[in-house]
């Protein structure tokens, strides 16, 4: 099954004096500026990558705060107008007795976004200093973050479906609150932040430290 095989220790492309295009995986000799096949910029390691990760991470985090403070849904019934935030809505559901749905909402809109912020921060820190977590585990963590990131948009889609569907004249109408905009922005910026992270750095860190020690 696995044919791409090499005897002994696996070498990094940089040790062989080559660099791969991150977009189309064409291999070029070191010193190549742009990939001749797909036109993407070719670089060894993106040195500014971490700055972009942190900048986008911060914007994502800043958007996440109003996303929790403002109401996500505005439910207008015959007599009352009710506004609920993400956490407020979940607490209401618990009071009504649907603990299961409330738990799903809390996990999907609170626990996972927070875990994502922490995971990206951890990855970004771990490539600049010694880490006790193995490279394979960090690579796995990165892939999980990249995979799960998109799924946070599910909240926005639920709000969109609810507020377009539940428009029943005077009886009941649901409309989106300002938190939906901030939540969507937060998800988008966290996704961009994860994408900006050059995962090849995970596999460099050790080598880079060894090299540094040798010089000292």
């Amino acid at each position: 099954m696995e044919r791409a095989r090499q005897a002994g220790e696996i070498l990094n492309a940089r040790d062989l004096g080559v660099v791969a295009c991150t977009r189309c995986a064409q291999v070029w000799p070191i010193g190549t500026r742009a990939c001749n096949r797909c036109g993407h910029r070719v670089y060894h390691r993106d040195v500014k990558s971490l700055q972009r990760v942190w900048a986008l991470w911060l914007v994502g985090l800043m958007c996440y705060i109003p996303a929790n403070l403002y109401p996500m849904l505005r439910t207008r019934t015959l007599l009352t107008v009710q506004e609920s935030t993400i956490v407020g809505g979940a607490i209401e559901l618990i009071e009504y007795g649907s603990v299961g749905v409330a738990l799903i909402i809390l996990i999907a809109s609170v626990a996972i976004p927070l875990a994502k912020f922490m995971a990206i921060a951890f990855l970004a820190i771990s490539v600049t200093r010694p880490s006790t977590v193995s490279k394979n585990q960090r690579q796995l963590l990165y892939e999980v973050v990249e995979y799960i990131g998109r799924w946070s948009m599910i909240d926005i889609f639920v709000v969109a479906i609810l507020s377009s569907l539940v428009q029943l004249n005077v009886l009941v109408a649901i409309s989106p609150g300002p938190a939906s905009l901030f939540f969507a922005l937060s998800v988008i910026f966290t996704m961009l932040s994860a994408q900006a992270f050059d995962s090849r750095m995970i596999w460099d860190a050790q080598r880079w430290r060894k090299g540094k020690k040798d010089h000292e």
Binding site: I10, G149, L165, L168
Partner: protein
């Protein structure tokens, strides 16, 4: 260090995720080349994958258009009734600054998947017909790949399920034809994505026109 006009190293393959370098051994159709270090799949050639992907793309094209227009879901409580299409749902955030969100959702659910399908048809049809790659095919494929994480039809489908659970106590919910079209669409999008061997496409695009 050679200059920028150097030749590519055709004998090597490098894992784009962890930078591990391997001597290139092309797997036979049905086999897979996997990075030993981080287990990223590098090459997955399939026999006739091109034709299958093109067929799937046309199916997706038809389904997206139909799913966007036909009634998607309907809801009724005590005589009052409301029917919406996928476009209505995407455009739910229509008041004030939330209009930005409306446009984003519409793009994520309908227009980005649509663009990706059109781009992949544009790139793959000449390759499958053994013609030289279409003009700017490399850029087109690059764009299609860049848009991949932003194509969220399947997430919207799960969002529907959650929303239905939420309101099923309050109101009676009915499914329109677009609901089933959309369900089929999601399956096809996922299958199409898994059929596509990126390395093989790039390899075909990199070759100068063979005629």
């Amino acid at each position: 260090m050679s200059a920028s006009a150097a030749n590519p190293r055709e004998d090597l393959i490098v894992c784009p995720k962890c930078d591990a370098a391997y001597a290139l051994v092309r797997p036979a159709p049905g086999e897979r080349a996997v990075c030993h270090r981080c287990h990223t799949v590098l090459i997955t050639p399939r026999r006739k994958a091109g034709v299958q992907i093109i067929a799937l793309s046309f199916a997706i094209l038809v389904l997206i258009t139909a799913a966007a227009i036909f009634p998607f879901l309907s809801v009724s409580v005590g005589g009052a009734r409301n029917t919406v299409s996928v476009l209505d749902a995407a455009l739910a955030f229509s008041d004030g600054p939330l209009i930005v969100l409306s446009l984003t959702t519409a793009a994520l659910i309908i227009f980005i998947p649509l663009t990706r399908v059109l781009l992949s048809l544009y790139v793959l049809i000449p390759i499958v017909l053994d013609k030289p790659p279409a003009r700017h095919a490399a850029q087109a494929f690059r764009l299609a790949e860049a848009l991949r994480p932003w194509s969220m039809a399947e997430i919207f489908a799960i969002g529907c399920a959650v929303a239905l659970v939420k309101i099923s106590d309050l109101a009676e919910v009915g499914f329109g034809p677009a609901f089933w079209l959309f369900a089929g669409l999601v399956v096809l999008v996922v299958v199409q994505d898994n059929f596509l061997c990126r390395w093989s496409v790039w390899n075909a695009l990199g070759k100068p026109a063979k005629s």
